[in-house]
């Protein structure tokens, strides 16, 4: 289908709220495409053939990217149809496009490979994906599609328990429900969504969007039991007696702390606590909401991943002066490019090559400054390809009345302590089918990877659903033949 296309080098930009305005609220920063703008951007896509399209190869769940983009152009005269067709293509691989369109590191995945990059700007795949999902939700098109799918589901008469309602668990649940299994999710918190709900802030991923994605799962028949902590309320052993298979998507929820004096001073938050207070408990609306949070005038955030950016930008919205302190250099920052860019626009300062060695408090046990050792990079690289760093023996002190530690997380200990469950360095060990050392128990997402990404967690959820389907089909057949 080699249609000759005109090459439009420049990306159609998405409108954004200006930085001065957005640091005053938690409203969403990026405003997304309109249909007209989306079509304009879609037209730039060269429609590389499916077997070749490098964007598809770069996508961890292999969405047919040119496939969905082409629908927007093909049905440009009928926006509803265009979106419905596009969504249908996306849903074949990804059930949470409103989320991934917003939070995936596209620049390292699909967009990194886009051939348009050789002649101009790469296609804005993430924002197109987001557009399709948002438009579909606003117009009820996603429900329409869903109700076309539901009657075709053939009940299997087998059941699966899912532990954790993060992207991994939600995806596995959705896929299994579509295959006809009875699915129940056990979620520790009072709300489903995992990091999408308690970690990623409203200004990047509005909670109403996550809720609507979860609503769809409920419509597919998925049961969600909140307030149920597996390992406490119910054990995996007990789940295995009640269900035919179990999927663990419990994430990497345990915050890592810095082993330095003063870590428990008041005013030092883990990013998880800070973001949970702000996002899940809506502390930015205190006292209308009951949960408090204290953000001082000078905030230091330690770390430079997505979590650090989210914490820093949230703190900025409380009116604080915010500095991100990172022990490595700018090239090692792991946060999404868009977030780093937004953070800088919002006036957040970056200090590189400094590593905290002591937290200094006042007489009331409250943080007032952080002492850092200055670091330097060597030419040698570590196993992750990052340049090794060493201390210089020189120190610098930054004043701070709030400190947020965002240096990473470990998998949830309550799950990892399950007898018979093989775990290495805190991560659950799985085979190539994502089955754990306990037969019938599968796992995916951050629980097996440590900290990863939403789309990788979703990819695991899909793959596990497929493996569980095979496992349960065999079980069913064995029973029938016996």
């Amino acid at each position: 289908m080699a249609v000759k296309r005109k090459i439009i080098k420049e990306r159609v930009p998405t409108p954004e709220m200006p930085a001065e305005e957005r640091i005053k609220s938690f409203a969403e920063v990026n405003l997304g495409y309109t249909f007209e703008l989306a079509v304009k951007e879609a037209e730039r896509c060269l429609q590389c053939p499916y077997n070749y399209a490098p964007c598809i190869k770069g996508c961890p769940v292999h969405i047919d990217i040119p496939g969905f983009i082409s629908k927007l152009v093909q049905y440009r005269d009928d926006p509803d149809k265009a979106v419905k067709e596009a969504l249908n293509v996306i849903w074949a691989c990804n059930s949470l496009p409103a989320t991934t369109g917003r939070v995936c590191p596209q620049e390292d995945q699909c967009e990194m490979n886009c051939v348009m990059g050789r002649v101009g700007d790469k296609i804005n795949i993430g924002k197109l994906e987001r557009f399709v999902a948002d438009y579909a939700r606003e117009k009820g098109i996603d429900e329409e599609l869903l109700f076309e799918i539901i009657p075709k589901i053939e009940k299997k008469g087998q059941s699966v328990a899912i532990i954790g309602a993060g992207p991994a668990g939600l995806t596995a649940a959705g896929e299994l429900a579509k295959l006809g299994y009875d699915v129940t999710i056990y979620e520790a918190l009072h709300e489903a969504g995992g990091v999408l709900m308690y970690g990623i802030p409203e200004f990047r991923l509005p909670k109403s969007i996550v809720e609507s994605e979860i609503d769809k799962l409920r419509k597919l028949g998925v049961k969600i039991l909140t307030d149920h902590i597996v390992g406490k309320t119910v054990t995996i052993e007990e789940l295995l007696q009640e269900y035919d298979a179990v999927f663990i998507g419990s994430g990497a929820g345990t915050p890592r702390l810095i082993n330095a004096p003063g870590i428990n001073l008041n005013g030092i938050y883990t990013a998880n606590e800070f973001l949970t207070r702000v996002n899940l408990m809506k502390a930015y609306l205190f006292p209308e909401y009951d949960t408090p949070v204290k953000v001082g005038k000078k905030v230091v955030v330690i770390g430079a991943g997505n979590t650090a950016m989210d914490a820093a930008r949230s703190a900025r919205r409380f009116g604080a002066e915010v500095t991100i302190a990172y022990r490595r250099g700018p090239e090692d920052v792991s946060a999404r490019v868009e977030e780093v860019h937004h953070a800088k626009e919002e006036g957040i300062k970056f200090e590189f090559y400094i590593n905290p060695v002591e937290f200094i408090g006042d007489e009331n046990g409250k943080i007032k400054a952080v002492k850092f050792e200055k670091m330097k990079a060597l030419d040698e690289r570590d196993s992750r390809g990052k340049r090794k760093i060493v201390g210089t023996g020189e120190y610098v002190t930054l004043e701070a009345d709030t400190v947020i530690i965002a240096i990473g997380k470990h998998p949830n200990r309550l799950i990892v302590n399950t007898p018979g469950l093989k775990v290495e360095r805190g991560k659950i060990v799985v085979d190539e089918n994502l089955m754990t050392s306990i037969p019938g128990v599968f796992a995916g997402g951050d629980a097996i990877r440590g900290e990863a990404t939403v789309i990788l967690a979703m990819g695991d959820g899909r793959m596990a659903a497929k493996a569980i389907h095979e496992y349960l089909t065999k079980k069913r057949e064995e029973k029938e033949n016996a």
């Binding site: 918190l189 309320t233 345990t254 006292p287 009951d290």
Partner: protein
């Protein structure tokens, strides 16, 4: 899931009893564990302790001391038949169940309600348990229940002096508490002391117990958010190591706890809590609720 309030009553001044339908907790809970409750849509998650339960009927009893906005709102806005939004749990580790011998189990204020299930289980296990409850005169709870459950229940009350402010009144409770502990330890030989109550009172009691060299366990109550080991709000230093009270505790060796740090951390939000309470009282008086 519905967490219906099957029964609600004021059992003493500022002490409210709630019997709640929560079969998933009732089925599993052990003495020493807690739940996280969220009562309102714009509410906080707060830890509370199941005091009694019925595994077959699927209910638990929670007793709250009205301290701040959440416990106040629960007392004034919730009626029998209403539902709590969330009851998550059981969380934390069960209390150690062993034959310790002669045990002194202390509860300051409403802390005694958390002592009750543990003391009762210890007594049933063959320990000789003395419970000590020190509180203000109108705040006595579970007296009959404790007298029935353990070897000896000692109740010490302090009158509320209307001429003194509340902190000074509380100091009187602390004083009586430490005097009474000293008296009991001087008279008889105990193998172990256990306590639940405000961190300041726990430290004061620990300082007495330490002089006698008796092992002491403390149930610690740092501020919590999730209660599942996810947020790190509840961290305490125990034996020089950072522990999370919700998943490593809530019970710890009193000799190893960094009390000063715990006390400082427990008071971090006091100003904001007071503000929230004042605004709530204003709204109540203005008849807006």
């Amino acid at each position: 899931m519905s967490y219906k309030i099957l029964e609600k009553k004021e059992i003493a001044m500022r002490n409210i009893w709630y019997r709640i339908h929560a079969p998933h907790v009732a089925k599993k809970v052990q003495p020493g564990q807690f739940v996280i409750v969220r009562a309102f849509k714009n509410g906080e998650r707060i830890p509370l302790t199941p005091v009694m339960w019925d595994r077959d009927e699927g209910w638990i009893v929670l007793i709250t001391f009205i301290r701040g906005r959440t416990t106040m709102r629960m007392a004034s806005e919730l009626k029998e038949g209403d539902e709590l939004l969330n009851v998550a749990g059981p969380l934390g580790n069960p209390a150690e169940m062993e034959k310790f011998g002669k045990v002194l189990a202390i509860g300051a204020y409403t802390g005694i309600v958390e002592v009750y299930p543990i003391a009762r289980a210890w007594q049933e296990l063959g320990n000789d348990v003395t419970t000590l409850h020190v509180t203000f005169e109108p705040m006595v709870v579970l007296k009959d229940e404790l007298e029935e459950a353990v070897g000896r229940h000692v109740l010490e009350t302090v009158p509320i002096d209307p001429n003194l402010d509340f902190p000074t009144n509380m100091k009187n409770v602390t004083k009586r508490l430490t005097e009474k502990v000293r008296e009991l330890l001087e008279k008889e030989e105990y193998d172990m002391v256990f306590m639940v109550g405000p961190a300041g009172d726990q430290r004061a009691v620990f300082n007495v117990v330490k002089e006698f060299g008796i092992p002491m366990k403390s149930d610690l109550h740092p501020i919590m958010v999730d209660g599942t080991g996810m947020c790190g709000a509840c961290r305490v230093t125990v034996g020089g190591e950072v522990k999370f009270a919700c998943i490593d505790g809530p019970e710890f060796d009193a000799y190893q706890v960094n009390w000063d740090e715990l006390i400082a951390r427990s008071g971090y939000y006091t100003d904001m809590e007071q503000r929230a309470m004042q605004e709530y009282m204003k709204a109540l008086q203005g008849g807006e609720q």
